[in-house]
């Protein structure tokens, strides 16, 4: 029987089957830890609030494509809800970032095979996200200020639709960046355990 050894590991395998089983088991363990870290309840809540905020502004955009008095009234309420959602996503995400991510996740990603997932993607996400609550407040403020003129003034309508579309695109790009960061963590854990 041939003795086998994985690089950088002290584990000695007797058979190829044993080696394969060990790899399967360690990858599974890495995935469980990765799931616990990246599927933290706070990050789930942050993502849900952010996506609800994005959907709210998608709703605003649709209502204002052909505005009537009732549609403007709905857009006004939904924009306010969307703004509150994005502010809540800011607070929840910030709390997670400071208390969990910076302590447990960031060092792992930086030591892993995709360190740019933190150095470029997280750093960009955490700062560009700061634009979103202000853009949301601006959109709500515009609807509130011009609610009586939106049915007749085409330029105002286009202006609010434009900002709403920007919020939707930015919020969904935040979700995409979140996926890359989670992938960076998974890759780091798998590399660490194998």
């Amino acid at each position: 029987m041939r003795k086998d050894r994985l690089p950088f590991q002290s584990v000695v395998f007797v058979t190829a089957v044993e080696r394969k089983e060990w790899i399967t088991l360690t990858v599974a363990r890495a995935r469980v830890i990765s799931f616990r870290l990246s599927m933290h309840p706070l990050i789930g809540l942050h993502a849900v609030l952010g996506e609800l905020g994005a959907l709210a502004f998608l709703w605003v955009l649709v209502e204002l494509l052909n505005p009537t008095e009732s549609r403007v009234q709905r857009a006004r309420i939904v924009a306010l809800i969307g703004t509150v959602m994005l502010i809540a996503a800011w607070i929840v995400g910030g709390y997670y970032y400071v208390t969990v991510y910076g302590v447990d996740v960031k060092p792992l990603i930086k030591e892993g095979p995709l360190p740019w997932a933190h150095s470029v993607i997280t750093e960009t996400k955490e700062h560009v996200f700061l634009f979103l609550p202000f853009l949301a407040a601006l959109t709500w403020g515009l609807i509130e200020r011009y609610r009586g003129e939106l049915m007749t003034n085409k330029n105002l309508k286009i202006a609010i639709v434009l900002i709403s579309a920007l919020i939707v695109l930015m919020a969904f790009s935040m979700a995409g960046m979140g996926f890359i960061i989670s992938s960076g963590l998974r890759a780091a854990l798998e590399a660490k355990m194998i």
Partner: protein, 100 residues
């Protein structure tokens, strides 16, 4: 109280560029990062608090200004600021990462 949309737009533009400036300054100047950390416990929390305060302050300072007649142009400036600011931050962190 009636909202001044022009003041709100200028406050948003101001905050976007303030975030971009604080982001780059905190990476380039360790003393600025330490100052933000000393102020709020974490540099990102410091930036968040300063952004929120700046937004309120800028709006209050400009709320009596005359409303712009061309809100669409103003919103195009907001969109351009967001896209340019976002790309500057992204580009900065790419170059920072590549520089090691």
């Amino acid at each position: 109280m009636r909202i001044n949309a022009t003041a709100l737009a200028y406050a948003t533009i101001g905050v976007i560029w303030l975030v971009v400036a604080m982001t780059i300054a905190s990476e380039q100047q360790e003393s600025f990062k330490s100052l933000l950390t000393a102020f709020a416990g974490h540099h990102w929390v410091g930036k968040s608090i300063i952004s929120a305060l700046a937004f309120i302050l800028l709006y209050l300072l400009m709320r009596r200004s005359r409303e712009s007649k061309n809100i669409l142009t103003l919103m195009l400036v907001v969109c351009t600021s967001v896209i340019a600011g976002g790309l500057i931050v992204f580009g900065f962190f790419i170059s920072h990462y590549l520089a090691g």
